[in-house]
């Protein structure tokens, strides 16, 4: 009993309630058909949002003004360079992955360099760097769809005991992120900076080192997401990352993390990612038109955030 009440005080619980409602509403409408298939699709597509969402969450946790808008471009560039290097050769998967990680590392470093050395606000710094990154991708890609090696396509589209591989991968990453945020020294430092950067600095937190690592972490996660998304969807395309800009921010907020920083949680990212996918497929199943669907999606998201936020302030 007590544990249940405790659970309802968690900020992320609302996104999971929303997930369950959307899923149940959909399979009631279809008369019980396709429940498992729907769950599988949701897990697959949510997996990519979760990976970028975790990176964005760490950045947003750093406090007001911190945000990474270069996620879509990073996804595109890492996928493009890695897939081009592998050239559909299954033996080169590991070096290909390293190239993707290297892109993430470079982007994170460049972003923080702009923020720190040129004193540009993060929103502008990452926006302008994303133009540079996207241009590099265009230059390298030349508008073609670059095919992934077959091994990777097989890995990203198959499942273990009914759970998609990409979902397993992103679950492992989420667990790691949870422990980093909640238990590690680095996580404590990120949370401290997000509450009051000056106070954190005066308490001995190496502020620049932590912020740098966080932007790099975000870049690397975006690169990983791009790498596997391209393998899953049959190749790297220039617009492959576009929808993940807003998604990465939305899953952080819907998941119950504070936009003002200093207070974040990882489970909510999973809840929100599943929810965003399920809302759209629920409305599709109901057969509503595209315009109504967008309006409904917006209204439902507002409802979930209000519900979760209202609970928090009551406490």
């Amino acid at each position: 009993m007590n544990n249940v009440t405790l659970l309802f005080h968690k900020p992320w619980i609302w996104s999971f309630i929303a997930v369950l409602s959307a899923w149940v509403a959909t399979i009631i409408f279809t008369g019980g058909l396709g429940g498992a298939g729907l769950a599988q699709a949701a897990l697959t597509f949510a997996a990519f949002s979760v990976i970028v969402g975790i990176g964005q969450m760490f950045v947003i946790t750093l406090g007001p003004g911190n945000i990474d808008l270069s996620i879509p471009a990073t996804m595109t560039l890492s996928a493009t360079l890695a897939l081009k290097f592998m050239n559909t050769d299954g033996a080169l998967v590991l070096p290909g992955l390293l190239i993707a990680l290297g892109v993430g590392l470079a982007v994170g470093t460049a972003n923080f360099g702009l923020i720190k050395l040129l004193k540009i606000p993060p929103i502008i710094a990452t926006l302008s760097s994303s133009f540079l990154i996207q241009s590099t991708a265009i230059w390298s890609n030349r508008g073609l769809r670059i095919k992934p090696p077959e091994v990777l396509t097989d890995f990203t589209t198959s499942s273990v005991l009914g759970v998609p591989n990409v979902a397993l991968l992103s679950f492992v990453l989420a667990v790691a992120a949870y422990f980093i945020l909640m238990r590690s020294l680095f996580g404590r430092w990120v949370l401290a900076i997000g509450q009051n950067m000056r106070a954190a600095r005066l308490a001995g937190v190496p502020v620049d080192g932590v912020r740098f690592s966080t932007y790099v972490l975000c870049g690397v996660l975006a690169a990983v997401a791009g790498f596997f998304l391209a393998s899953f969807s049959g190749g790297a395309a220039l617009n492959m990352g576009t929808e993940y800009l807003l998604t990465s921010i939305a899953v952080v907020v819907i998941g119950g993390s504070s936009v003002a920083g200093g207070n974040s949680n990882v489970p909510g990212i999973w809840g929100a990612s599943l929810f965003l996918f399920l809302v759209v497929s629920m409305l599709n199943t109901f057969g509503v038109g595209a315009g109504v669907r967008l309006i409904m999606t917006g209204l439902i998201i507002i409802a979930v955030i209000t519900l979760a936020g209202g609970r928090k302030s009551m406490k």
Binding site: F179, R183, Q195, L202, A203, P206, D208
Partner: protein
Amino acid sequence: MPSEKSVIALDGARKHFGAVRALDGVDFHVAPGECIGLVGHNGAGKSTLVNILNGGLSLDEGTIRISGEPVDAYSVSRARQAGVRCVFQELSLCPNLTIVENVRIAHRDLGRSAWRKNAETLIRDQLGKVFPGHTIRTSELVGNLSIAERQMVEIAIAFLEISNPVKLVILDEPTSSLDAVLANKMLAYVRQFVAEGGAVVFISHILDEVLEIADRIFVMKDGKAVVDSTASKFDVASLVQAMGSVVRENERRDTTTNAGEVAIALRNGSLQAHRGEIVGLAGLSGHGQTDALVRLYLENTGDWRSHRNNQVAFVAGDRSVDGVLPLWSILRNMSLTLLPDLTRRFFVDVARERELGKLWRERIAIRTDDMQNDILSLSGGNQQKVLFARALASPAPVVLMDDPMRGVDVGTKQDVYSMLREEAGKGRTFIWYSTEMDEVRQCDRVYVFSEGAIAAEFAGEDVTEENIIRASFKEAAA
């Protein structure tokens, strides 16, 4: 009872926060033309009483009467209507607005189109009345003011009378950031205000000041009133006793300055401290002492790696800006500086952290039943103790303190003083900015600041009030 004439009267006031009885049946009457000194330890219930009086909190039990009339729905706006004003311990001006604009926030009755001009004249006159000879420009952003100047502005705004008369002003630690000169100006103004029929509730941990200004003394302990009688019956010693702590003389340390090893120094060489030394930074408030401490800290710690950040620890004085992490528990706030030492292979050892919290809760008497409670559930003085523990618990051989005793009660101060002496004896170095002469006198060596630079340096027997005051004013007089 003189309650018919009372500006405001509380009877049988009770207020609980969970299991904590912040107010436990208190009768509190304020008559016109009276200055009441409200004293008590941190967490004795003073802040709660103040918040009841200004309408910020409502009573669980008890009655409120204004000018003899019982009031049912007492609120902040009702309090203002009744002429009750309050200067908060946590400074409450908006830093992104100018002084004039802050006046507008506190006072709605400035007129429509000409409010800016009206506010400008009013606040300039009022500042001149309370702090004659001040140099504050009213068009300045509050964020650019020093903490002392912010406090001056806040006091002036509280006494500002526009359309409805000011009957009661509550001053919660008004002098904690002011130096002696400014504090005396303010006390003189308060005396005049009281003589003209106003009422003042004066809260301070500086007991000399309370005894000097108050007609009546109201001592609180654990949410109850333990003393309510004329001020002339008390001296500092008996007042401390009434609050429930034992008086100890501030014994001077034997000056065992080993002028050998320099523990820390400013890069430009103007300020340095030796191992085991307690170095004081004195002078009028806001003359560059805090800047010097912050510079000293930043020069000697790293932005990128933490490996040498355990060489120096910082105790913030401006709590909300430099110290407290508002979303965290008491424990997490306390452990932040020494966290690298509690970390094994990347992860924080939570069991050891909790143990340490328990140890320091007892050592420094933090008033809470659980260190996992939010830091903001503590009173200001107790938050300050947490910041102390943060620095003292760390292994740092040098501790910098930025006037850290603001709002800390006498008993705790004595405990901290003896802790400092003990730690210094073991070889720790302290650099201590203080606005209180009692504290400065405990230092082995003192730098006196004036106009952002060091004006004089005294050591050993030369650390006297007279020398320090003379050095603080040398610039101003010249």
